[in-house]
Symmetry: C2
Subunit: 358 residues, 2 copies
């Protein structure tokens, strides 16, 4: 087992990465302070891992399980309200601990619920998808979606601990596994060129879900994210580079309606757009586009946005992005492979050129 | 004008207290960073002060007004969702500033909305009731109610500034003014005995809404609260003393249904219960009970809970209090006039004796 510390002062917390961690009860219980626990999961993950987690939690004064419907389309205020109804009805107090067992949707909505319940209770993340393990479990971003935009209602709220049991990836559907790889590839692109090249070599082993390269990929991804978040917890500056491909990606997800494209799929198409734009601006060599397209395609990810999305669709949706400040679009582009920056001077003309490409 | 600084490190903020502050645009605009503003108020306050605030805000790229229905029964997730719908529809981004213009309900829901919108935007409080000026505008507690408990869904979120224009108290209905006095009296009871005696003398002038004693009472109340909050922002310990009378009070409010008893009225009856219990335990001289009852009565406040509320009603509701930890009731009692403490060893028998009194 590897332990990675996210350094955030008094909000610092450990990420445990390894095999069989769900069966090690003490790992979990050392982070549960009180006698009450709420385990929140979804109807896909519950049959697979809920019993293991409940066994690890053990006998307590009050243990409540909440099983949400699976899917991004349920990450909304309605489900949030249902969680609140349930924990209040059951009588949970301020010393309860919320445990998120599942992918990014479960983690985001559980984290937001933990942030708001009685103005904040402890929470622990047990991410069971590759995407959640390398992305949403690190950094304290919690949120629910709104019909008018993704993650529009949320909070910065750090977990007490994150448990990544690599074994859970063995049950992950291929499509979701690929979506997670998109974010892994992102870390290479934005700040770790050697890792990017390592991924190009190791992809077949990763796709075969071999444990050692999986642990390596997750650890390097989390370490990069932890480093960036530690430097900029509330996204004042540097942290924005984690959003490479996300402004385009969020537009795609919103346009298609939540749940049709997976987040990682939209980010994959978005990253390629960001790289194309970086090439278009002369920052990166053109050969990088084909290399990234190959890597994404090999991983089973899309390399272009939905054909029916027009330039106007993109512009209308991107202007609602959280990174927009006083009407100015801010995009994450590459200065070079392994180095990202936020730029604010992308013109509508450049975007028209980029998005009109076949 | 007096300026009081709430010392919370990088979250420190000023409270301005004085007459005519709403007409001084620069006071407000120095705390608005961006080009977008959302003013949230209610249908009672809007006709009185909204124009003044909009004039002070001035011309901006985007100014949105949201007028909520007046009343504690509207401080809920539904209204919160309506605020989110509106600001998203209007296209507010992360650099927008939320302004709360109104009483505690408007302040609490606006603060919570500001805390959650895009994971946190700036917000400014303009409290227009005495209660909001001395209580909910200081300390960063934001929340909405749930049918199963008050303030159960919320966040700790500090404003960028608080503007207290004493002139707004001239339009406040007597009943609401009295409810605010309950919290003012509380500050005397928990940590400022000289202030408590000053209030006994100054009450007629306060009830006549004379500006000088009003400013004095507000400033001393805010200073006490600011001092307590600065020492314990997230209510780990000391801050709990601010809840004198609130555990009983919340039970009364919940039992009656939100909006029937004003918060300050319930707190008044609750403070007297807390004082009675303190006397019952031998901590305070019995004469204090009659003195406080006189003061509350003179201020136009209730001195006993609703007659139909049984001991069992109280117990059932108080066990849901946020201060309950692992099933143990924690109550704020007085060690002496001007000194409060949190006690955890109050027995059911003691409470039965207290609450069975005629």
């Amino acid at each position: 087992m590897q332990t990675l510390q996210v350094a955030l002062g008094e909000r610092s917390y450990p990420i445990y990465i390894g095999q069989g961690l769900l069966s090690e009860g003490s790992l979990l219980t050392r982070h549960i302070a009180g006698a009450q626990v709420v385990v929140i999961t979804n109807d896909t993950v519950a049959p697979l891992y809920l019993d293991k987690v409940l066994a690890a939690v053990g006998e307590r004064q009050l243990v409540t399980q909440i099983i949400l419907p699976d899917g991004e389309e349920h990450k909304n205020l309605d489900q949030f309200a249902k969680i609140m109804d349930c924990v209040l009805r059951e009588g949970h107090n301020r010393s309860t601990t919320f445990i998120a067992l599942g992918g990014g949707v479960v983690g985001d909505i559980t984290g937001f619920a933990a942030a708001c319940y009685q103005r904040g209770v402890e929470f622990i993340q047990i991410p069971t998808t590759l995407l959640a393990q390398v992305d949403s479990s690190v950094g304290g971003k919690t949120a629910v979606n709104h019909a008018l935009g993704k993650n529009m209602i949320g909070a910065f709220y750090q977990p007490a601990a994150v448990l990544i049991d690599i074994d859970t990836l063995q049950t992950l559907p291929d499509r979701e596994f690929a979506a997670g790889l998109a974010e892994v590839i992102k870390y290479g692109l934005i700040s770790d060129e050697p890792f990017y090249h390592w991924l190009q070599d190791a992809l077949p082993q990763l796709l075969a879900r071999e444990e050692a390269p999986l642990a390596e990929a997750i650890e390097r991804s989390c370490a990069t994210k932890a480093r960036v978040v530690a430097a900029d917890e509330r996204e004042g500056g540097l942290r924005a580079i984690l959003n490479l491909g996300h402004t385009f990606g969020h537009a795609i997800e919103t346009h298609q309606g939540y749940g049709k494209w997976l987040h990682g799929e939209a980010v994959a198409a978005g990253m390629l757009l960001a790289l194309r734009l970086s090439v278009q601006r002369g920052a990166v060599d053109g050969a990088a586009v084909q290399q990234l397209a190959d890597l994404l395609q090999q991983a089973g990810l899309p390399v272009s946005p939905p054909p029916e999305m027009s330039f106007d669709d993109f512009m209308a949706l991107m202007k609602r992005d959280k990174k927009v400040i006083d009407g100015r679009l801010r995009l994450v582009l590459l200065e070079a492979l392994g180095r990202a920056q936020v730029v604010e001077d992308v013109s509508e003309q450049e975007l028209r050129e980029l998005l009109s490409k076949p």
